[in-house]
């Protein structure tokens, strides 16, 4: 009796299972989500910047999905955290492309992480959207670079400063590749523009002790401090510079609205920053973006150019996915980037099909008495990238 009951129950379950399997799973190709890899560090040394990129990307993808996705199909993100370790970035990229079979990856921040992922996307014919501004001098068929490079940032900045702020520059940066390349370029721009370099100093990465550097600055009497310092070093420098009562304004390629909050108004006021996007850029798309950011991201941070990089990267990718006939064919998506234009909070910008970099506006901001960045210069048109 018991045995018969068991057999009956098992058969019933199998029957139900079959019916469920055969029945109404409406998952046709037309509504299957498109898988995109998101590769950022939420822990470790670069997590401060990467959290901003991640916030921007997250906001963009939520918005895209809310507005109908890619021709009716939602974007499904597969997130991987590489903890600021370039070797792990390469591993995670490989996993995203081979195991999770994503169409493209948005991610990485530092040049070392990007350089580690580059051979992976090239070997497996995938696509990386790189959202951060960097030192240029690189190109790849499998990478789309959405951040600004020196000819869109440093060249214009140096020439503007020469005209409006002074001729004697003191260059300072942390001791790694990005500041060294930027300073080398700055020296060529200065030479062409009639400026001069009265000092060039590099501090160990992460160092917060600027006493000897400040002495050198005092002795060399510059008109401007041209800085690519990042992270803790950047914050400590502004504070100690102001405590020493030094007057020449600091001109930075890296400071942003969130960093300014930790520097404090008295140390940051009257300094200059040059990037492609500020929170205070005035256009209707940005006004809406800033409001959305304030509603959705409530952790004391502000929308910065890094957030915008993550956001633009996702917007461009969505545009390419919509344009491509088959959004799961990475090669078609790569081809769809050529000439792609979007209306971003940082203006109407487009991809330069020749070198996979982005035409971006250049903006210069000055920090006022209230700690806000006023946009005092904006290029009339987006600048074409020359990596």
């Amino acid at each position: 009796m018991k045995k018969r009951l068991c057999i009956l129950l098992t058969c019933t379950m199998l029957l139900f299972g079959l019916m469920a399997g055969c029945g109404g799973r409406q998952d046709t190709a037309a509504s299957k989500p498109i898988k995109i890899g998101v590769l950022y560090s939420l822990s470790g040394v670069t997590s401060v910047s990467e959290k901003q990129l991640y916030d921007g990307t997250k906001l963009a993808i939520e918005e895209i999905n809310r507005n109908g996705g890619i021709n009716g199909r939602k974007i499904e993100t597969v997130f991987a955290d590489y903890a600021s370790d370039p070797a792990r970035a390469a591993d995670k990229a490989r996993k995203l492309v081979l195991d999770d079979k994503v169409t493209a990856i948005i991610g990485t921040c530092s040049s070392s992480a990007r350089k580690a992922v580059k051979p992976v996307v090239e070997r497996y014919r995938s696509l990386l959207i790189y959202p951060q501004s960097y030192e240029g001098q690189e190109q790849s068929k499998n990478i789309v670079y959405v951040g600004c490079i020196p000819n869109q940032q440093a060249e214009i900045f140096v020439n503007w400063l020469l005209k409006n702020a002074g001729k004697k520059f003191f260059l300072i940066g942390c001791d790694f590749v990005y500041p060294k390349v930027e300073n080398k370029l700055a020296k060529t721009y200065l030479q062409k523009g009639g400026g001069s370099v009265v000092g060039e100093e590099y501090v160990p990465y992460g160092s917060t002790d600027f006493s000897s550097v400040l002495n050198k600055i005092k002795t060399s009497d510059p008109d401007l401090i041209y800085s690519e310092l990042t992270g803790d070093s950047n914050v400590a420098f502004y504070k100690q510079y102001s405590a020493y009562g030094l007057k020449a304004p600091i001109a930075s390629l890296t400071t942003n609205e969130t960093v300014l909050k930790s520097i404090g108004i008295s140390a940051a006021k009257n300094s200059y920053i040059c990037v492609d996007y500020f929170k205070n850029v005035k256009n209707p798309v940005n006004r809406k973006f800033v409001e959305t950011y304030a509603q959705k991201i409530r952790d004391g941070t502000e929308p910065t150019y890094a957030v915008m990089g993550g956001y633009n990267g996702a917007l461009f990718l969505a545009g390419a996915l919509k344009k491509a006939k088959n959004p799961e064919d990475t090669q078609q998506v790569i081809a769809a980037f050529r000439g792609l234009k979007i209306d971003s909070p940082s203006g109407t910008i487009s991809i330069d099909g020749g070198n996979n970099h982005t035409n971006l506006y250049c903006r210069i901001g000055k920090v006022d008495e209230k700690g806000e960045i006023n946009v005092i210069y904006e290029s009339k048109n987006p600048i074409a990238p020359k990596p």
């Binding site: 997590s47 000897s212 002495n215 050198k216 914050v235 020493y244 909050k261 004391g300």
Partner: protein, 286 residues
């Protein structure tokens, strides 16, 4: 000459911060023989306490410094009670455990406050300038504060009953216990005191450096270097060590550049250890 004096004074300020950070190390590593790899994170806890007290609660910096001591001491006491005391006499396990605690502290801070740097206002603005020599008032305050805390710690250990008990336990634990000293309680209090000193170092550094979850690493390295060079259990040695490290970094940085200077300072430290492994002013150990 002016420039040299300026460098010397700057070095004094760096030395003061290094000394404050290393004092706790002397107590924990020198007196208690515990290698605490979470030392940098206790400094970070002190810095965040200063942030919370001054920026979030809006109180003055004068409240922030003792608050930093109390909070870091509390964290230290918890560490001692829950982890350190179970690993007495096992340095490798202690290092591993404290390393783990350091990672936990970093990530918890990251989760609560975010990874971005936090702002702590400098409590004393302005500077004293005479010709080419400029010294911010806050730097003078830091130097005086470091000297006072060092003197206070030495007095505590030499003149108070608590200090006598600590030294008794260090010299001969079994005998001290026979004489009725509650060594377990003194251990917790000593460890907490060392951590509290670290917290105060963090509070003092916060206005002129950066307050972020991962700020602790460099402080750990410099504290170890300084106390090992000076003699791990000697306060005088650590004071000399911090002067040595601070001034040489400033002077060498002044004549060449900071990266070269830090390399040279490390080489200098290695040379001292090579020829005098117990440090410059080592105390006789049993």
């Amino acid at each position: 000459m002016d420039s040299f004096l300026a460098l010397l004074l700057n070095g004094l300020n760096s030395s003061a911060l290094i000394l404050l950070a290393a004092l706790g190390m002397v107590i924990i590593c020198g007196l208690m023989n515990v290698i605490n790899l979470a030392h940098g994170e206790l400094i970070m806890v002190g810095a965040y306490t200063a942030f919370s007290v001054t920026q979030v609660a809006g109180l003055s910096f004068a409240v922030a410094v003792p608050a930093a001591f109390v909070v870091s001491a509390a964290v230290g006491a918890a560490m001692e009670l829950l982890v350190i005391r179970k690993l007495t006499g096992r340095p490798a396990e202690t290092m591993l455990a404290t390393f783990g605690i350091s990672v936990v502290l970093q990530q918890v801070t990251n989760l609560i406050f975010g990874a971005q740097s936090q702002y702590v206002a400098i409590p004393i603005e302005g500077n004293l300038s005479a010709g080419r020599v400029v010294i911010p008032y806050y730097n003078i305050f830091t130097i005086l504060f470091a000297a006072a805390v060092s003197a206070g710690t030495v007095l505590l250990l030499k003149k108070t009953r608590f200090g006598k008990r600590v030294r008794a336990i260090t010299q001969n634990r079994t005998m001290a216990e026979c004489l009725g000293i509650n060594s377990a309680r003194i251990d917790t209090l000593t460890f907490a005191f060392g951590c509290g000193l670290a917290g105060m170092a963090g509070a003092l550094a916060a206005p002129v450096k950066s307050v972020s979850p991962f700020m602790g690493g460099p402080y750990l390295v410099s504290s170890f270097m300084t106390s090992v060079v000076g003699g791990i259990a000697s306060f005088f040695g650590t004071a000399v060590g911090s002067l040595l490290v601070g001034e040489s970094t400033a002077l060498l940085g002044g004549v060449s550049n900071d990266v070269f200077a830090s390399i040279l300072v490390f080489l200098l430290i290695i040379a001292v250890i090579r020829f005098k492994p117990e440090g410059l002013f080592a105390k006789e150990r049993r």
